[in-house]
Every structure is written in structure tokens, then in C-alpha cells.
Symmetry: C3
Subunit: 138 residues, 3 copies
């Protein structure tokens, strides 16, 4: 049994967006009780991650860390067509995930208690991001 | 055909733990001969990786690298509820993997000769980590 | 329905190699119209990524970034059996991906417009890299 659908996520610029409810809803509606849910982002300047879902400071700290690791406007970058956050967005995407693969058990994502599913927008401007879901199993 | 089970991995603090045998055993027992094996960690302060399985110095060097990249107690972090290794553990998890997806062929994980499956505990204290396996195929 | 095959990719040393066409060809030939395509590299000193496929400067910048983050010959590394790029190759692999999981829809990889599938060779010498494909679905 396979269920596929595309989510559209409107971002308001750099930051993280919690997709956990939307993904869980799609899994519930798919009718799959045991199998896998693949979450795939169809972009190279935004990415996905599983991360702690309780304290918003975690997201702040992740952003602080990434901004230090991959500074906007770093003069080593030559691909600057879309501005100082263009190439950093690609690097940040490569260092995190474009796809997540979450087990489905009893018709639900078998996430840990503190795990949330996040889209990480790496560009400063808002974008309309397409996230493709594939739920496969019995 | 789908087989799911949860492994429990007791860690003794920061470091890597080889799961290759346990995963391979689950694949063998599943009866799946061709398909995929998903390994999923249900935590956000420990992660998974595929890495060189021959020379233990590789694990030492990975730890040295990560400790330099994401220093414990870095004053930029504000999420310090559980101590100086709390937020670094989340960052290290985001920079590595929460899920691995390994092909199954002839009833075995189709790993390369030098590939091992590792859990990386990022907290200094030991934890009981839950790793969920989904083996799906024919 | 499952289709599995191994690609052999001859690299000419450090750099990125576009696998998009080969993966797409395998998906088309598999007969799977809806499902998943797993791309798995059977090595620990080369890795995989999805990245921008239009401007070659992006690949140059990624290489510049990674060479700065994980310098060849860094004296902190003790695993140097195969030379100054040995341990950096393992670290670079751990920071990127060993497996990619791409949805298949209408018999094609459901990549975004600007997404390409790349093998990243991290060693300075050329190698023969084995990439295993599993396409599973209806």
C-alpha cells in the first residue's frame, strides 16, 4: 500500500517550522499501519531535521551555531547570485537532511517522545516550500 | 513483507557503539531477502552513522573532530538545562543521522567491506537508547 | 515490486560526480511508477548528496567550505594510514550522506527542479565506487 502527497509550506524567512502534525495526519489518513514514511524536500536551500520539540531555545541555539559555522557573506563563496545567504543556504542544506525516513507503527510515526519533524528555511526571505510524503507499508 | 522490532542499547556515556551484528541478525531473522532495512533512533541527543569499522582510531578522531566543532559549554548556547553537553548533543545529532537506510540483498545488509553501523552517544552520562528497525521487502 | 542494481562510478579524485541520469534511468527501467528509490554508497571515504544542479560554482564553494572545515593533514588526526586525506574523507562522509531516499512518482524521481544527485569523492586519488540502488513500490 502506497500513499503519496505533497505538502506546501509557506515560510516567513530563516528559521524552523514544525511539520510533525501534518506528517502525522498524512500517516493516519493513509491507512498504513506498519511501514515507513519518507519526508522529502524538493529544494536545495531549505532542509529537514528531527530535533527536540520541547524548548524553543534549542531552535535558537541551532540557528546560532549554523550562522557561526556557515556565515552569510563569507568571502570564500563565489556563488552569490541571489545574495549573501545563497551559498550558505546550500551548505546548510548539505550538512542537514533532504529526506527523513520515519517508521510507522500502529498507524503512527514511531517518533521518540521529544522528537519533532522540522523544516529549516535557510534563506532570509520567505518561500513556498514543497515537501513530498511517501507512506509505504501494510 | 514487513518486520519491525526495537533494540535497546545501553550506553556508558559519550562514544560509539557498534550495532552491525544486531542489525544483521534482525535482517536474517526477518526472512526478507531483497528490500530495505531502516534503522531509526528515537532520541535527539544520540545519533547514527555508517563508518569505517577496522581501525578504532577512526572513532577517536571523529570524537576529537566533533568536540572541537561543537564544544561542550560553548557560551553561545542558551539551552543548558541538562548541563554543558546538552545542546552540543542536539547539534551533533543534527549534523549526523537519525535514520539509516540500508539495502538488503540475499538476506543480508548490502554494506561495503569497511562499513559498520554505529550509534553515537553524545551525552557524557550513559543512557538507555531505543533503536527501531523496519525491514521491508520480499 | 523491487528492483536492485549496483552502479560502478569511476572517480578521478576529489570532487563531485552527477549521478542523476543514471539513477533516473534505473528508475525508468524498473517499472516502478510509485514508491521509493534508495541510493546507497558502499564506502566510508566518499558520500552522497542532493544539491543545486545549475551553477558549477556551487560545487566549487562546497569543496572550499569542506576543505576549510576538515583540513587535510590536520594534526589532531591520528588515523593517517592512507595519507593526509584519509581521516578527513571519513569525517566528510559522516557530515554528509551515505544514503539518499528519493520518492518515485509517475515512474520518475520526484526531484525538485534544481536538485541533482551527486557522489562526492573525498579522496585525492581516483577510486572505483560502488553505488547500490533499490527501487521499491508499485
Amino acid at each position: 500500500m502506497i500513499s503519496q502527497q505533497e505538502l506546501s509550506v509557506s515560510t516567513r524567512g530563516r528559521g524552523t517550522y514544525d511539520l510533525s502534525r501534518q506528517v502525522q495526519k498524512a500517516v493516519s489518513e493513509s491507512g498504513v499501519t506498519a511501514g515507513m514514511c519518507n519526508v522529502f524536500i524538493r529544494h536545495t536551500s531549505a532542509s529537514l531535521m528531527l530535533c527536540e520539540n520541547a524548548d524553543p531555545d534549542v531552535m535558537t541555539d541551532l540557528e546560532t551555531f549554523m550562522s557561526r559555522q556557515v556565515p552569510d557573506g563569507d568571502p570564500m563563496f563565489i556563488h552569490t547570485a541571489e545574495g549573501p545567504d545563497d551559498m550558505p543556504a546550500h551548505v546548510r542544506s548539505v550538512l542537514t537532511q533532504s529526506d527523513l525516513n520515519i517508521p510507522v507503527r500502529d498507524g503512527r510515526c514511531a517518533l521518540g517522545t521529544w522528537q519533532g519533524i522540522y523544516l529549516w528555511e535557510h534563506r532570509h526571505h520567505g518561500h513556498n516550500r514543497r515537501v513530498f510524503l511517501t507512506i509505504q507499508g501494510e
